[in-house]
């Protein structure tokens, strides 16, 4: 089970790590800036000065190379008892001690550059700070995996059981892990189709002129626009229709390709080492955390995804280790509910919010739109400007729909909200995860004895707008009672 022997003495990163650190360093420096400076130095300088600057540059290079090598040499990490130890620093030694049970998540990534060398990079995060606590740029997979397993099993590890290192590859597979989700190619295509096709097209914008010239059109985009408007109405409609179809097809292709590369072999497993998500075709990623670290269960479903019968589940974890599961379905959601908080059912979503919400939300928009319309009308006497009042109608429709569809529910241990305008979103939160509770009342709400109640978690906020004050207070008292009377851990 345990692979502590890999980690019980200080280990260095793989020597190749120096290259990756250097690449990262230059990326932060800005490759283009460095290039521009070099070019400026080379061009328009006398030979003497050129030699001088080249010498300076090579000295700088040597210094940074030495620093890199030294920092690589001095960077070691190992596991001692229940703590992960890190030692680093060139001149002054820094020692970092991370209790294993405080680690929020571990991500193991294999970038394209890592692939041929068989190396991986590892990020370890705790809740303590914003940054990643331990960043290993390159190490071997067995070391990374044994670190993951050590952390995952740190809570229920039998004392002093160390197995031989030869079994590590087997033990990786023999884990009694259950596969919660795995995606076939067909699923991945579905995920691609479920993403909005237009989002990916933004990147073409800057290359529009280039693409047009490839097709033998030497005009710039504006020139084409002015020509198009000289055509007949019928032709304009035809062109717009063709463009729409073309762009949509292209967009969907992009999204499918993106889905295939990022979600390739996406798999979420659950076992003694916690939740483990792996995916990726070119850059392989692996994220691990324990169910207790998951702060809430969030789902999103847009209209395309609704048609395809899929939804996107996100499991927020403190730090950057959030687990995303695109292309999920309700049975997977039910299973995750059971694993994460032991909930057997979907939330009942049996409570609503006050109708006054429509008035409150539409009022501000209406005032602003009316004012702007009147000002514009004062300067340009165009009756068509009053079409902008349709915005108010749209806002009314949207708010009405939101109010009408918004549901929430309060059960022992769980508070949940459900909202829908065009895409649906749900948030389920274990009451134990609540950090603070706020009841808010504006002047408008006080006259109607309504209130907003907001429950803040570590990674998200759950806000229920416009409920009767007594109900809001009830939710507050109930949540506080749960947090204060329960001994269950929240992270």
């Amino acid at each position: 089970m345990n692979n502590l022997n890999y980690l019980d003495s200080p280990i260095r990163q793989s020597p190749i790590a120096v290259v990756f650190i250097a690449i990262k360093f230059f990326r932060r420096l800005g490759v283009f800036n460095a290039g521009a400076v070099a070019f400026a130095l080379v061009s328009g300088l006398s030979t003497q000065r050129l030699l001088f600057s080249l010498t300076g540059a090579s000295i700088l290079f040597l210094i940074s190379l030495t620093t890199l090598l030294l920092s690589w040499w001095r960077f070691t990490f190992w596991v001692e008892g229940d703590q992960l130890q890190v030692r680093k620093g060139i001149l002054s030694e820094q020692k970092l001690t991370i209790p294993l049970d405080r680690i929020q998540n571990i991500s193991i990534d294999q970038k394209l550059l890592h692939r041929p060398l068989g190396l991986v990079s590892v990020n370890v995060e705790t809740a303590g700070s914003e940054e990643v606590e331990l960043e290993i740029s390159a190490t071997t997979l067995p070391i990374a995996e044994s670190l993951r397993q050590t952390v995952g099993s740190s809570e229920h590890r039998p004392a002093n059981t160390v197995t031989s290192g030869d079994h590590i590859q087997d033990s990786l597979l023999v884990e009694d892990e259950t596969v919660i989700t795995s995606r076939s190619i067909f699923d991945l295509i579905k995920i691609g189709l479920g993403s909005l096709p237009w989002a990916g097209l933004v990147i073409i914008g800057p290359f529009a002129d280039e693409i047009l010239s490839r097709f033998g059109i030497d005009e710039d985009v504006e020139g084409i626009f002015s020509k198009v408007f000289e055509l007949s109405f019928y032709k304009i409609v035809l062109i717009i229709f063709a463009l729409f179809i073309g762009a949509t097809t292209l967009g969907f292709t992009f999204q499918i390709l993106r889905s295939l590369t990022t979600n390739w072999k996406l798999k979420l497993t659950y076992g003694p080492n916690g939740l483990h998500r792996t995916a990726g075709l070119l850059n392989k990623t692996s994220k691990s955390s324990r169910p207790v670290r998951v702060q809430s269960i969030v789902t999103h479903q847009n209209l395309l995804q609704k048609t395809l019968g899929i939804l996107k589940i996100s499991l927020p974890i403190i730090g950057k280790g959030d687990i995303f599961l695109p292309g999920s379905n309700k049975s997977e959601l039910a299973e995750l509910r059971k694993i994460i908080s032991g909930w057997e059912n979907a939330p009942s979503f049996d409570r609503r919010i006050s109708k006054s919400y429509i008035f409150l939300k539409v009022r501000n928009t209406s005032v602003i739109v009316l004012l702007i319309t009147c000002v514009i009308f004062y300067f340009y006497r165009q009756p068509l400007i009053f079409l902008s009042l349709l915005l108010i109608a749209y806002e009314m429709f949207e708010t009405y729909r939101y109010w009408n569809k918004f549901r929430w529910s309060l059960e022992p241990n769980r508070i949940a909200s459900y909202s829908e305008v065009f895409s649906k979103a749900t948030l389920e939160m274990d009451l134990v995860k609540a950090q603070s509770v706020t009841v808010r009342q504006s002047f408008f709400q006080r006259r109607r004895s309504l209130a907003n109640v907001q429950i803040l978690g570590a990674e998200h906020r759950l806000e229920i707008p416009m409920v009767p004050l007594s109900e809001a207070n009830q939710v507050r008292d109930f949540a506080l009672y749960h947090v204060e009377s329960s001994n269950r851990p929240w992270m």
């Binding site: 809740a127 059912n345 950090q435 603070s436 509770v437 803040l456 207070n473 507050r476 009672y481 992270m491």
Partner: protein, 173 residues
């Protein structure tokens, strides 16, 4: 829609301990003085700006500018006197509540078991009036109780520290 087969256990919310607005403790009125000090600074800035403007452009800016500054400061003082009436806090066995706001009234509560960090802040002005500001920080949302007597703030801090484990405190930053 989602499945409706669920168990909806009755929640006896009436028996739960409630936060009673009647028990709220007002903050120390001396905090008004701290606000006045900041108002005085504002007044100073307003007068200096007015003088500078009237010297560089036209002299008639001076009376208007000073009158405007005075009106704004007066309104501010009135608003602060009203606002301080609505400040209140409530220390219970397991949590701390802070109320504030005249138009937008908010009541925030932080349970001690979720507190990550306690800060007692004492700036020079606060120190002069013997006051302190205490902040309870959690992983999501903080509450700040302004205008407490130093002794009271320290007592609250000690109490919270005794109730919550693994809390770091930093005093007199």
């Amino acid at each position: 829609m989602f499945v409706k087969d669920f168990s909806n256990l009755a929640i006896e919310t009436d028996n739960l301990p409630q936060i009673d607005k009647m028990n709220l403790k007002p903050i120390d009125k001396a905090y008004l003085n701290v606000m006045y000090v900041s108002d005085a600074f504002l007044l100073l800035i307003g007068i200096v700006a007015t003088i500078a403007a009237s010297v560089t452009w036209w002299l008639w800016i001076a009376p208007i500018g000073i009158a405007l500054t005075l009106v704004i400061i007066t309104l501010l003082i009135v608003a602060q006197r009203i606002a301080i009436e609505h400040f209140g806090y409530l220390l219970r066995e397991h949590d701390l509540t802070f109320c504030q706001g005249v138009f937008m009234r908010s009541t925030s509560t932080v349970p001690f078991v979720r507190v990550q960090h306690i800060g007692v802040d004492r700036g020079p002005v606060l120190r002069y009036f013997g006051l302190a500001v205490i902040t309870l920080k959690t992983a999501g949302g903080n509450i700040t109780v302004r205008g407490l007597k130093l002794k009271e703030a320290n007592r609250i801090k000690e109490f919270v520290l005794s109730r919550a484990n693994n809390v770091s405190d930093d005093e007199d930053k």
